[in-house]
Subunit: 215 residues, 2 copies
DNA sequence: CCATCAATGTGATAACTCTCACAGAGTTGT
DNA sequence: ACAACTCTGTGAGAGTTATCACATTGATGG
């Protein structure tokens, strides 16, 4: 795998992630090989876009034939770093945190959730399905350090997010995925992504409103 | 509110949604007025970007002063169409579906979830907190039509997503938010957004891998 | 072994999005 | 009433991302 340049569009990375899901399904459906044309139809991306996305990282297809689904999936996982094992923890075991804790696809992408934290005394001590016990937030720092956890998922209410982020950073976390509807601030060396599910719905409402106004 | 042109960047819409959350917090923290500079710091967007985003839709600030937080929030909600009431339903009341059903921020943005469906006979009939009872999927079409539901949220496993989408469309749905890791196909007149939480984590892994390789 | 064919990989180009710098509107103080 | 000042709104330009068209490559079959 060669990485020609450092300027890969963020949108490309997002698409690579969806290609994986398509490729997995294609294998189940007995397609050992697929063209960019057909893959594009599957995941609703133009064929040229797919080829361009892949060309940033190397040549993975066979001209005149297409891509080996199994091999391409492995290559993309390598590109994204999903062939590593990423020790991950969840802070805030509420409705959303519980959903994420039980989300099977995460494990398939290399993320293994090895700890869960909550501030609610009633929840602390609860053993979750995966053999993980909910720990108090006071143990965040030492557990993250001790278990060498690299990724932290924040699913606490908004007003707790900043403090939780700081505790995770103190423990030596390297990446944070924040679901709380507030932007947390962390040192520059920490990789941070804020996820806003609400904005997806808002966007839907906007598009629908546009259509309505136009007609 | 004037809409000068039709070509609003998607990124702008996404940011408008986050501005709302910031503006709400600013009001609670007793800031009746805010400059683009400070708002930018709050939601980690450059001041120029904020002004440009807003300028697509009109003039909302007072020169030399800034923006009225309360008024601006209302304006943005109007722009996004969040001042309407959006009757919404959830299909697939699993871990994620339940989290979304109980998510308070949705209601604040104008989305009122008025029905929930699941194919699991053990779940059908369960009364959820909001006074909503889980209905069988066979009732999707008639309920969507009867309750004039406009938005459908799909949180079923991937292999059920397409069929569910078709049932919702048959009932007259206008917008779909799909959380299943597969792209569903619907008629052009339906507004569709696919949400991929996995790709957010994948993206995080990619960024972290980049940093690691660089050093 | 060569001709034919299908689908990739990519440079050029078009489209889109963000950043910058500043003119000018409105406020505040004298 | 006027001057000094602050922060908005925006055109112009830089930078980024997607699309297009086609030359190129490797497979396939006679
Ligand atoms: N539920 C959703 O569908 C959804 C969607 C998008 C974003 N979010 C956001 O995700 C977060 C969690 O949502 P939820 O619906 O799961 O809420 P929830 O109330 O069900 O869960 C929050 C959990 O965080 C715990 N908590 C509170 N303070 C804490 C602290 N300081 N340290 C550790 N844990 C703490 C609570 O005990 C609770 O278990 C919220 O910020 C919400 O806005 C939720
Ligand atoms: N859990 C997460 O954190 C998460 C994150 C991102 C995406 N997703 C996706 O969201 C979807 C749901 O995830 P989950 O964790 O809630 O799974 P889940 O298994 O907890 O829930 C799925 C629910 O869908 C119901 N269902 C199955 N077939 C159905 C059908 N044909 N019609 C109606 N309902 C049906 C099931 O009975 C179940 O209640 C999956 O596609 C998953 O990939 C989940």
């Amino acid at each position: 795998m060669k990485t020609k340049e450092c300027k890969i569009p963020e949108a490309t990375i997002k698409r690579l992630s969806t290609y994986i899901n398509c490729l997995e399904r294609l294998q189940v459906e007995n397609h050992p090989v697929i063209s960019s044309e057909l893959l594009g139809e599957y995941c609703q991306v133009s064929p040229a876009q797919i080829r361009k996305d892949l060309s940033y990282f190397g040549e993975f297809g066979v001209r005149g034939v297409g891509y080996d689904t199994k091999k391409l999936e492995a290559e993309i996982k390598e590109i994204l770093g999903l062939n590593n094992n990423w020790p991950t923890c969840v802070v805030g075991v509420g409705k959303l945190g519980l959903a994420l804790l039980n989300f099977a696809l995460f494990r398939k992408h290399g993320f293994s959730i090895t700890a869960a934290f909550d501030s609610d005394p009633a929840k602390v001590g609860t053993e979750l399905s995966a053999g993980i016990t909910i720990q108090p937030t006071t143990e965040i720092e030492q557990t993250v350090t001790g278990k060498k956890i690299l990724i932290g998922i924040i699913t606490t209410p908004a007003d707790a997010a900043q403090k939780v982020a700081e505790q995770l950073v103190a423990g030596g976390i390297q990446g944070l995925l924040n679901f709380a509807p507030t932007k947390v601030k962390v040192p520059e060396e920490i990789t941070l992504r804020n996820v806003s599910i609400t904005s997806e719905l808002d966007n839907l409402a906007y598009l629908m409103t546009q259509k309505r106004r136009r007609s």
